[in-house]
Structures are given as structure tokens and as C-alpha cells.
């Protein structure tokens, strides 16, 4: 065994780093090229974007779950270094996971598309990396593209980081140009990890993945001490103890080792079946010699966006429950509880980190578990304080309390928008419409600007991203992070069909917008609800006050005059089909509403669809 065998690597030879990049700026391609150049993967075994495992990830070109890969690299000084490339999720919903990945590193490659410049999420993650004191290596990717503008974007990066444009490296993950130089730079620039090898073991969990065959695979970065393959380990937040079944490193397939030492990155398998027992951000220590102080920074994942998920076919409810139970094993941030809707039947109120997370969960449920689902419009969590000082946490608008409300609090976010300067007016207008308050504005280059707004999360959830993209011809990028809550003048708007409220259509909106919401929803439903035997009023109401009304007039004719030359069979089959269709109607009071009407009405505010397109 060489000096760089897992478990006994000299920390001075270790470099732990991640790549911070926007979704399509070429992170996975660059990572693949690094795997190839270090000989970890032979060229012919190369599967495009090796590190992204799930189909959905590959299709969307984003990385949902991070992994860590150990790359032995012989540097210019002739010594073999261990580069641990820690992959990070690249989307706004996973800020916390990103922050834990960053905490496991000493350096970060800031990777920016040389034809597009930096994007808002990248900027946000860069700030996160700077807060963590990471050494930043600025890199422009895709310099082989004909539209690349390396000079312009090097200047932009230099200004943001405070370095010289000459310090910005230029690579092409596609052709491999500059990648060897980048590997050398990681050795030269990123500091080696520092830790106390004799102290009680402490390792940071930066990822936790459920594997059907192995159970939960936990990715850790050892800070102090040593983890041995025969240790019993303890999770410091929960004090739960697990037997270690296997310790190892990924290179790029799992390779078991005897242990992991200071600064090393690898995986642990304990046989637990639920990622909740091995949470990102927690500190692992040993039972035999436990540490007293955890590494800090652990947070319970907090769902920010809620939606009701219902099976289209009510009899699929048990399948949906089983599917959620399975997904939960691999997704510590997914929460759900059974919910009953008058309109939609039995389903689950699910909590997500954000819109993309919601969309991913929904898509996995439909794709991997073959379920047809209907989802209510997503909403945020409200804290409602009543006159009698009692308090309600509302995750479903239809559960908004009746009675005297003293104050309502809604979550707010700190958002960053990056866009070409020509769109500043349009962005300001949108943010103002969405009840935003401006926190600041900076030019990051001559023609690109960073706008900072505090916005209610509810406004972001309601098609903000679509609007932003359409008003900036797709050039703006957005990032946001939770920033507490604010009191707001919010009201619940109910939609009534023939006097009966339809729980799935209730929404909590700002009072100034309640009228527009009510009018729009009533008008939309008027088009979607088939005529019944009686007139059906569609009303939007705040409490007992009606703010909008439409009528679906009573049906007057429902008879097929023709007999089609004695083709009674055709007539009977048509009738049977109509009766079949009727069975799929949902009854709201006396009103028959086709399922398609719910789907169409709820899709108005389904901004998740946009995340899918990205």
C-alpha cells in the first residue's frame, strides 16, 4: 500500500474541493474529464456525465444528490496527491445541502460558462463558499464555443472575487483544454485539510443516499481523529448508535477501506434503511471515544412549500402512500401527512424545500411508481395569530382559521437577480408587483447588474420565475434564500360552486390581489365546468363577502336526435361511455366536476412546470 491508501493518507497530500457552477455551465462534463485525466475512469468506460446517476438528473442536466470521488493525481512535483471532488447540488432549493458540501471542502472551483457569464445561483453559492473561507479558483468553461467571450467574463469574475483577470483559468470540459492545468492549480492553491489525528473522531455528513441493496450510504469528511471499519459510531444530534458495516472511498465505484483519517472523504454503511437516521449536517463520532463538541451548522431540513398530492384514480391511494414511504428513505427533506379533500378525495399534504424539489418528487412518483397524480397549487406556510392570542400554523389554505385574526405572518426570502442592464426596469416592475422591497443593486460588469430584493416566498411560488424569464427574454437568473417572516395583510379567498366551497381552490393571497385572484379563478372555472341541469354560480369569497361571481348556465339540450340508420349499437355504446365518464366526475355538493377541470384550474398557478423545462 502506498502512502495514499485510504485511511492513512497524509493530510498534506489531500485537497478537498467542489465545483460551483450553474445548471448548464458544464460541471458534470468537467468532472468527467477530471476522472479521465487522473485515470480513475478509462476513456472507453466513460459514460457521459458519470457522476449524475438518476435518469431525472441526467435529463434535466442538474445534480440532485452530491457524491464525492477520490482522484489520485500525480502533480508537477512528482508526488501523488489525493483530490477529493465533492459534487454539489446546483439548485436554489438545496442551499442547505450545498452549504454542507462546501463545509467539507477547503477550496472551490468557480466554474462559469464563457459564453454566458455568472448566474445568480452561482453567485449565491460563491458567497456561501467565501463565508466558509474556501479558496476560490475562478474558471471559465466552454472556451471552445464560437460565442465564448473569455475576456469579458474574466473581467466580470475578477471584479466579483477581487482578483486579477489573469488569475481566471480557461478550460474546455468538452475538449479537455486546460483541465490538466486546473488539476495542478488545485494542488498549488487549495490548502490541505488540518485536523487533530489524536482527538476523538469527528466527521461531517455532507450527503446521505439510500441504496436498495446497501441501505443508507453516508458520505462524510473526517475532520479529527479516525473512523475504523469496526467502530460503532454515534450521530451527535440524535445520539443514535450504529454498527459500521463498511467504510470506503468512491473512485468512482465504492472501494472498501480499513478506515478514514483526518481530511479524508469517503462513505459509511451502517445498514440503516432511512436517510433520516443519517442526516446531512450531522457529526459522526465513535461510541468508544465520543467527541464532546459537534462540528456545528446542523439544521433540520425545513419544508418551505406545500402542496396536496392526490391520485387521479382514488383506488391508487395505497400505492401513493407506499411510494412516498419509499421516496422518504432517500429524501430527508420530504414530509407528508394524509389529507382529505372534498374535491380530490384522499391524498397527502406534502412539504418540499421548494418548487424544483416538489417537481422532482412528483415526477419520480409518476415515473418510478407509475402513478397519475393531481397536485394542488403550491403554497407556503403561514403563521396566524388570533385575537385570543392562540396561534395556528397553516400549511393548507383550506385550514385557515375562522374567527378573529389578529395578524398573519408569511415567509420571506432574500433574492438575487442577475440580468443584462436593459432589463432592470422590467425586473423592478415585476418585483414591485410582487410586493418586493429593494435591498440593493450593483453592476457586476458594464452590462450586467445584480438586483437584491426581499420578497414574500408566496410571490415566488406563484409563477415568479416564469414571469421573470418572459420579461427578460430568458436572460435573468434568480436565487433566493429564506429570510424569516413578515406580517402581511393576507386573506383567504374561497371558491364556491353552487354555494359549496371547493377546498382545493382556496388560496391565501394579499388583500390587494384577492379581487384579481377571485375574478380570474371564477372566469377560468366557468370555462371548465360543464353545464349542469341547474344554473351553477361560481363565487369567490373572503369570509362571507362575495368578491366575484360567474354563472354556468343550466344545460338546455342533451339529446342526440339522429338514430343513424338503425345503428342502435352506436347509441347504446355512446350512452355507456357517457355513464363511464360520469363515474369519473367528482361531486362538489350537487355539482359534477370533471377531473380535467381540477387539473386545468390548478395548473394556472403551477409554476413547478417551469422548473421542469429548465
Amino acid at each position: 500500500m502506498s502512502a495514499s491508501a485510504p485511511g492513512s493518507t497524509d493530510p498534506s497530500l489531500i485537497r478537498n474541493f467542489c465545483i460551483i457552477a450553474h445548471i448548464d455551465h458544464g460541471k458534470s462534463t468537467l468532472a468527467d474529464r477530471m476522472l479521465q485525466l487522473t485515470g480513475v475512469v478509462e476513456g472507453r468506460d466513460m459514460r457521459a456525465q458519470y457522476l449524475d446517476r438518476m435518469d431525472i438528473e441526467r435529463e434535466r442536466g442538474i445534480t440532485i444528490k452530491s457524491q464525492a470521488v477520490r482522484l489520485p493525481y500525480t502533480a508537477a512535483d512528482g508526488r501523488t496527491y489525493i483530490l477529493n471532488l465533492i459534487d454539489t447540488p446546483g439548485h436554489v432549493d438545496f442551499t442547505y445541502e450545498v452549504s454542507r458540501s462546501l463545509a467539507a471542502c477547503e477550496g472551490a472551483v468557480l466554474l462559469v460558462d464563457a459564453a454566458q457569464g455568472i448566474e445568480a445561483q452561482t453567485l449565491a453559492n460563491l458567497y456561501l463558499a467565501l463565508e466558509n473561507d474556501l479558496q476560490i479558483i475562478p474558471v471559465l468553461n466552454k472556451i471552445d464555443l464560437p460565442f465564448a467571450q473569455p475576456e469579458k467574463y474574466a473581467a466580470e469574475l475578477a471584479k466579483i472575487i477581487g482578483c486579477s483577470p489573469d488569475d481566471v483559468m480557461r478550460v474546455s470540459g468538452k475538449t479537455g483544454v486546460g483541465v490538466a492545468e486546473l488539476l495542478q492549480a488545485t494542488v498549488d492553491l487549495i490548502p490541505p485539510p488540518v485536523g487533530d489525528p489524536d482527538a476523538p473522531a469527528r466527521a461531517l455528513i455532507f450527503d446521505s443516499v439510500y441504496d436498495t441493496y446497501r441501505g443508507v450510504v453516508t458520505y462524510v469528511r473526517v475532520v479529527d481523529g479516525h473512523l475504523n471499519s469496526r467502530d460503532r459510531i454515534q450521530m451527535m444530534s440524535t445520539r443514535t448508535v450504529h454498527e459500521l458495516l463498511e467504510v470506503g472511498v468512491i473512485s468512482p465505484d465504492p472501494v472498501p477501506s480499513k478506515g478514514l483519517g483526518v481530511g479524508e472523504v469517503g462513505y459509511l454503511i451502517t445498514g440503516v434503511k432511512d436517510v433520516r437516521q443519517s442526516r446531512v449536517g450531522d457529526t459522526v463520532t465513535t461510541l468508544a471515544r465520543p467527541a464532546t463538541q459537534d462540528l456545528g451548522g446542523y439544521r433540520d431540513p425545513k419544508p418551505m412549500v406545500f402542496a396536496g398530492l392526490y391520485p387521479l384514480d382514488g383506488s391508487d391511494y395505497p400505492e401513493l402512500r407506499d411510494a412516498l414511504d419509499k421516496l422518504k428513505l432517500n429524501d430527508a427533506s420530504l414530509v407528508y401527512e394524509p389529507e382529505t379533500s372534498v374535491a380530490l378525495g384522499f391524498g397527502f399534504r406534502c412539504g418540499f424545500l421548494g418548487l424544483l424539489h416538489m417537481e422532482i418528487v412528483r415526477e419520480r412518483l409518476e415515473r418510478e411508481f407509475n402513478l397519475d397524480l393531481i397536485s394542488t397549487a403550491p403554497n407556503v406556510v403561514y403563521r396566524v395569530r388570533m385575537d385570543d392570542n392562540s396561534e395556528h400554523i397553516v400549511t393548507n389554505p383550506s385550514e385557515y382559521p375562522d374567527g378573529k385574526v389578529a395578524e398573519v405572518f408569511e415567509p420571506i426570502v432574500r433574492s438575487t437577480v442577475l440580468a443584462p442592464t436593459e432589463f432592470v426596469g422590467a425586473i423592478m416592475e415585476l418585483c414591485q408587483q410582487r410586493r418586493g422591497t429593494m435591498d440593493g443593486m450593483d453592476y457586476i460588469s458594464e452590462d450586467r447588474v445584480e438586483l437584491r430584493y426581499t420578497l414574500p416566498l408566496a410571490e415566488i411560488v406563484f409563477d415568479f420565475f416564469d414571469q421573470l424569464k418572459s420579461r427578460t427574454r430568458g436572460y435573468a437568473s434568480l436565487d433566493y434564500e429564506p429570510n424569516g417572516e413578515q406580517a402581511a395583510d393576507l386573506v383567504k379567498v374561497d371558491i364556491l360552486l353552487h354555494g359549496d366551497p371547493v377546498d382545493a381552490f382556496s388560496a391565501i393571497v394579499h388583500r390587494d390581489k384577492s379581487y384579481n385572484y377571485g375574478v380570474a379563478m371564477a372566469a377560468k372555472l366557468k370555462e371548465l365546468i360543464p353545464r349542469q341541469q341547474f344554473e351553477v354560480p361560481i363565487q369567490a369569497a373572503i369570509g362571507a363577502r362575495i368578491i366575484a361571481r360567474e354563472n354556468v348556465r343550466a344545460i338546455r339540450k342533451d339529446v342526440l336526435a339522429k338514430c343513424y340508420g338503425g345503428d342502435i349499437t352506436r347509441k347504446r355504446k355512446l350512452l355507456e361511455k357517457q355513464k363511464e365518464g360520469k363515474k369519473r366526475m367528482k361531486m362538489v355538493g350537487r355539482v359534477e366536476v370533471p377531473q380535467e377541470a381540477f387539473i386545468a384550474a390548478l395548473s394556472t398557478s403551477d409554476t413547478g412546470a417551469e422548473a421542469k423545462k429548465k
Binding site: 338546455r556 342526440l560 336526435a561 339522429k562 338503425g566
Partner: protein
């Protein structure tokens, strides 16, 4: 091309019916329908099984058609056996039956008479286009034994006839009725279509007035249905012709019902009105679920709980007949549940109404004003006639 027939079970080449269906033969009256699948031109709204000379192609021609149908009559005799009741009614429909020479229609009718016999008071109807008859041809039909003639007027306003692509005008329509009356047809009917894009309430009133004043004893009025696969259907899809409105159709229906009944033509089926004694017996046989054999391509038959339908194209039909095989494309033998459903779906459309419906199903419909109780029978109100399909869904 016309709408597709339903799917069904394979029909045996010898056309043999089940013992169950054969044993029921004679329990109800037996009628004959004769399909004449020819038109001079195809109207833009029509999806019936009919062909212009151009569309027909080789292998089938009008001149041979009567002979082919007569062979199907002989075939039917073999299937039904020797002991059927005389025919209660015969109906020649199309297409445009009067596009065939009267002598051909007469040959077919006489073959039916000679093979199955006609009841003494049998109703013998042919459909006719005002364009395709004259006094001489009508007289020939009357002489051949036809007792009733049904003219496809559809409308009288020129712009409505134009949208429907009908080639006649109101003068021809009136002249045809007059000629039929003069040669001795005691039963004359006209068909009207309402709700055509461009038609006004007054246009439709004028058509009704013309029909009433012409002295016919029967009027059928159908809401225009835009069918897929027709030129009108394509125009509606393109948006060059507006989709007919159900509300407008409902208004027109009420207009028809009120004008016709005050003129002495009472409704006896959802879309049919007649003076007492002028009701179409053949039409009633359909709704009463009686037995009939449909002759010709695409024709539907019902005998004792088995339904079948012939192959649609005239040349495919002729090939089968020439080979001595059943022209049936497929058939279905109705279950008891199917038959009960059909009894309700067909019978509720008649003025005579329907019995045997459980109170818990009918009572709400009565209280909602859709049905009335007449002795033991449930009868549609005017409101209920407009919602007859909805009523059937709730009764079954």
C-alpha cells in the same frame, strides 16, 4: 368518409342466427329497411353511408344494385326460415333512393312482397330528394305500392340550404310535396334540420310554416350535428363556420314543438311530429325495438336480440352477396342487461312512454319536471325531451 360502425363479434358467413334469437322471431312485428347508397352529390354535413358516382369506384354500379339487394332478400329468407309474419313496414332510405329508377325500387319492393308478404295495411315509405322526383316517377312509385314518401327538405331559406350544400330550392320542395299528394300519397313527410350556422329563428319558422301549409301529415326535425370527417366538420374545426350552439338548438326545438302542435301535428317521438294516424310505423318499430332486416351496404338489422350491420362499401357488399355469403361485417348478441338498457333508451323517446321503471329512479326526474307520470307510463316533458340522453343516463 362516414363515421365508422361499432365493433362487434364476427358474423358467420351463412348468417345463421342463434336459437335464442330465432325463437323470439314473431314475438314482435317484422319490418324491412332497404338502403340505397347513392347520391348525386354529397352534402357537406352528411356522414351517411352513401356514394356519388365518383366515390363509388369500380365493382359496384347502380344498374346492378336492385339485383344484388334482391339476392340479399333471398338470403334473408333462408336465414329467417319459411314462417315469418308479413312485413309490417318497409322503408327505403339512403342516400337518395329516388336516384334509382322507380322501376328498380318497385322490383325490390315486389321481391320483398313475394318473399315475405306484406301485411294488408303495411306502410311502404321511400325517402326522396325534391330534386330527384317528378310527377311521373312519383306516380310510378305509387302504382308500385308505395304508401308514404318522406322528402328531405332540410330548410327553405336559400342561405341555409347553401350552407347545407343542398341543391334544391323552396319552390322545388313545395312542388314535390304537391306532386306526391296529387298522385295519391296520403302520407307525406318532410325532414327539417335546425341550428345550421346562419339560420335565424325566423328562417326556421318560415320552413315550419311552409311545411305546415303544404298539408303534409308528418314532420321530422333534427338538430344539425357536426360530424367528424365531413366538410362541415372540417370547416368548423378550421373556424370558418361557427359551431352550432346547443342553446340555439334548444330554442328552435321549442319553436318547432309549439308551431307544429298548434297546427295539429303532435310529437310522438323526440324528433317527430304527426297528425293522428300519420305517425311513421317504421320509425315506431325502431323505437319499440321490433325486428327488422336491413338490406344493402352498411344497413343495420335487429332480429330477436341480435344486431348486425353489413359491410359498408357497395362493392364489398356485392362481392359477399355474389359469393352467397352473409354481407354482415359484424354482429352482437345482446345480453339481458343490454336489452333492458336499449328498452329504456329507445322507449323513453316515445310519447307513449315507458313502464317498469323503479320509483326511486323516476321520482326525482318527475319532481325536476323532466318526466310526467301517465298512468303506468313515464313520458318526457318538453324540457325532458331536450335532455332525453341525460334522463336515460339517470334511469339506467
Amino acid at each position: 368518409m362516414p363515421g365508422q360502425p361499432p365493433e362487434g363479434a364476427i358474423a358467420p358467413p351463412d348468417g345463421q342466427l342463434s336459437d335464442r334469437s330465432l325463437s323470439r322471431l314473431g314475438a314482435q312485428s317484422l319490418s324491412a329497411y332497404v338502403h340505397i347508397p347513392f347520391c348525386a352529390s354529397r352534402c357537406g354535413y352528411c356522414d351517411f353511408n352513401t356514394y356519388t358516382a365518383d366515390e363509388l369506384g369500380p365493382g359496384a354500379n347502380r344498374a346492378d344494385y336492385a339485383g344484388t339487394v334482391i339476392r340479399e332478400i333471398e338470403f334473408a329468407r333462408g336465414v329467417l326460415g319459411a314462417t315469418t309474419t308479413p312485413l309490417h313496414s318497409v322503408f327505403f332510405g339512403g342516400g337518395t333512393p329516388t336516384l334509382l329508377p322507380s322501376s328498380d325500387l318497385a322490383r325490390i319492393l315486389h321481391a320483398l312482397r313475394d318473399t315475405f308478404a306484406l301485411a294488408p295495411d303495411a306502410e311502404i315509405t321511400t325517402e326522396a330528394n325534391p330534386d330527384s322526383v317528378d310527377k311521373a316517377s312519383l306516380a310510378a312509385l305509387r302504382d308500385a305500392g308505395f304508401t308514404r314518401i318522406s322528402f328531405g327538405w332540410q330548410a327553405t331559406a336559400p342561405h341555409v340550404l347553401a350552407v347545407l350544400e343542398r341543391t334544391h330550392n323552396v319552390d322545388k320542395a313545395l312542388a314535390a310535396v304537391r306532386a306526391a299528394q296529387e298522385v295519391g300519397f296520403e302520407h307525406v313527410s318532410v325532414d327539417l334540420i335546425y341550428g345550421t350556422p346562419g339560420e335565424t329563428d325566423d328562417n326556421f319558422r318560415a320552413a315550419l310554416t311552409a311545411a305546415i301549409d303544404s298539408g303534409v301529415d308528418h314532420v321530422s326535425a333534427y338538430a344539425l350535428i357536426v360530424e367528424d370527417g365531413t366538410r362541415l366538420g372540417a370547416a368548423v374545426k378550421r373556424g370558418t363556420v361557427p359551431q352550432p350552439s346547443d342553446d340555439v338548438a334548444a330554442d328552435r326545438y321549442v319553436i318547432a314543438d309549439e308551431m307544429l302542435s298548434s297546427a295539429g301535428l303532435e310529437w310522438y317521438e323526440v324528433s317527430n311530429w304527426a297528425r293522428p294516424g300519420g305517425e311513421c310505423r317504421h320509425n315506431l318499430a325502431y323505437w319499440r325495438n321490433a325486428d327488422w332486416w336491413g338490406f344493402g351496404p352498411g344497413a343495420h338489422s335487429h332480429i330477436g336480440g341480435t344486431r348486425w350491420w353489413n359491410v359498408r362499401h357497395p362493392s364489398a357488399y356485392a362481392t359477399r352477396i355474389d359469393a352467397g355469403e352473409s354481407p354482415a361485417q359484424a354482429r352482437e348478441e345482446l345480453t339481458d342487461a343490454d336489452q333492458e338498457l336499449e328498452r329504456v333508451l329507445l322507449g323513453i323517446r316515445l310519447k307513449e312512454g315507458l313502464d317498469g321503471i323503479p320509483d326511486d329512479l323516476s321520482a326525482p326526474l318527475v319532481s325536476e319536471g323532466l318526466l310526467e307520470q301517465h298512468d303506468d307510463n313515464l313520458v318526457l316533458t318538453q324540457h325532458g325531451r331536450l335532455l332525453a340522453d341525460l334522463v336515460v343516463r339517470r334511469l339506467t
